[in-house]
């Protein structure tokens, strides 16, 4: 692609409205959050990019970067004098759409019916997390199933967000990738303020809650259960935070959380054995205990796990490893020993 597919390229092309975050991920049909949407929510003024959907030819053929910037630069001035209190209906309709940071899921052809998420396709299984002495520890397996087949075996379902948080997701994997994109935009645009402040886990959790709930209200959910954990310096020193959001928008903050099957198999163990200020070694042992039970009893779990931790020093995602499972019970060897020939 000729234009704006690297931040440096975008920065090089100067435009009156400056480089917009998200300008590096255009969709093939020309739509994309870079159509001034992020900027709109802050500046409050519409850009013209909503009026004309640039065709692919326009994007590819243009030798000016910032297909949004090119169009906007000229039109922004023309539209600076719109009546904000009583905007014309055209502008009003576009404004309403543009103020959404979250774009409605669009199918390829703009003329066909919008498709709503009915069922997940590629799914990850449980994530478990809890607070420990130095921060938050999070773990999950690295598998993603396509229905009942284990399609992908090296998938990272825990990612770092900024310097202060970790996000883990179970459920539809493509929706998780979309959420990571939104979070990238969020952290980038926050970074652009350049005020020394950075988004903490509480803020990101709150943002994700709004995103998930709003999507649910449009009957087009992001089919995930997300776990958000982090540590950030607050008024009372280093504050650990751990919260969960699921696809219908239910959210809460807790000392230990789990998604999916982890709710049934790991939470009873955590409720019995978690305590405040557990050390990292004990935390890893507890996590491994839960992961082993999940390996035994969750059909979509695989024996390849990743543990991640977040402390004041930053996020660390350890490389994946396997756990030793025990199958040597004598009853497993010969179940019919009491009555030969029975089953």
């Amino acid at each position: 692609m000729a234009i704006a597919d690297t931040p440096s390229a975008a920065r090089r092309c100067s435009s009156s409205t400056g480089w917009r975050p998200g300008a590096i991920w255009p969709y093939l049909d020309g739509t994309g959050p870079s159509q001034g949407r992020v900027l709109c929510s802050r500046a409050g003024s519409p850009s013209s990019s909503g009026v004309v959907r640039p065709s692919p030819a326009h994007i590819l053929g243009s030798d000016r970067c910032g297909f949004a910037s090119g169009g906007v630069a000229g039109a922004a001035e023309a539209q600076n004098d719109i009546d904000v209190l009583n905007p014309p209906p055209e502008v009003e309709k576009l404004n309403h759409k543009k103020e959404l940071l979250v774009q409605p899921s669009s199918s390829m052809d703009v003329n066909c019916q919008r498709s709503l998420t009915m069922y997940p396709c590629v799914t990850g299984t449980s994530v478990i997390a809890f607070k420990y002495k130095d921060g938050v520890i999070m773990a999950c397996d690295t598998g993603a199933s396509y229905g009942s087949t284990l399609r992908y075996k090296s998938v990272e379902r825990i990612k770092a967000v900024g310097k202060h948080s970790l996000i883990g997701a179970s459920g539809e994997f493509s929706d998780f990738q979309e959420i990571l994109r939104y979070l990238d935009e969020l952290t980038l645009s926050d970074h652009m303020w350049d005020d020394g402040n950075s988004l903490g886990p509480k803020e990101i959790h709150s943002y994700l809650t709004r995103v998930m709930y709003n999507r649910r209200n449009k009957f087009d959910p992001l089919w995930n259960s997300l776990v958000l954990g982090g540590v950030k310096k607050g008024p009372k020193g280093d504050e650990k935070y751990l919260g969960m959001v699921n696809m219908i928008g239910t959210h809460f903050e807790e000392n230990y959380v789990a998604t999916g099957f982890g709710n049934h198999l790991a939470i009873p163990i955590l409720r019995a054995e978690w305590h405040e200020d557990i050390t990292f070694e004990e935390a890893v042992k507890l996590v491994e205990k839960c992961l082993l039970v999940l390996l035994y009893r969750d059909r979509s779990s695989i024996n390849k796990f990743q543990i991640a931790k977040i402390t004041t020093e930053g996020p660390t995602i350890h490389p994946p490893y396997s756990l030793k499972a025990y199958w040597g019970f004598s009853h497993f060897e010969n179940p019919a020993q009491g009555a030969v020939g029975s089953w």
Binding site: L94, V110, F261, L265, C290, S330, P335, Q337, G338, S342
Partner: protein, 273 residues
Amino acid sequence: MTGSMDLPAKGGFSFDLCRRNNMLQKNGLKLPGFRKTGTTIVGLVFQDGVVLGADTRATEGPIVADKNCEKIHFMAPNIYCCGAGTAADTEAVTDMVSSQLQLHRYATGRESRVVTALTLLKSHLFRYQGHVSAALVLGGVDCTGPHLHTVYPHGSTDTLPFATMGSGSLAAMSVFESKYKEGLTREEGIQLVSDAICAGIFNDLGSGSNVDVCVITKGKTEYLRNHQLPNPRTYASSKGYSFTKGQTEVLSTKITPLKQKVEVTEGGDAMEE
């Protein structure tokens, strides 16, 4: 200029499917009935025998029908069976197999074997194709050693070193999977079973109240009813209420002697046999 995609769809509940459901019901569709769930039953094999455990809550939908019911049923002096599912079904099926085992003991003159109970249960349940909703954990010690089996409503069975059934089975299984090992002693076995039932009681809404434990070893069975009471009722005053005499003011007193209404005649007709 795009026309159809401009306005986002309105949110809120769409009642189209409710109309369809009503139409289907009018045409004779039966809506799915309510299934009774709500139990944690477990069993494990330890070095000398078998330990069975159960919670004591019986539910009727969202209501607790019986706070302290007995879910560990007698099959034979050396065989006990925990039951989950519809209470009537588990009671009836275990009673029936228990009487069959008794008749068999009279006929053979020997102690009943666990596999006998297992076969009687599974053939009965299979014949009813899952309509007898009884999910059982059957355990006992006979001349061939300790045995533990699970029986599912459709008639399939498993032979396992440790087993859980019921709605709290996942919570109890997480405890077993993390802590079970072979060759447990009697105290360790009872402790592990109690831990598993408590995990079910506190993490599953369908299970609650107290923990029942049954320990079966060669020649001896101990039924520890209400072995643990982790959900006690706490009254405001531990002594209960006490009302001293004179606490209630007496406003008036009226005494009515009862007239004798029955006349007793000597030497009447004796009752006919």
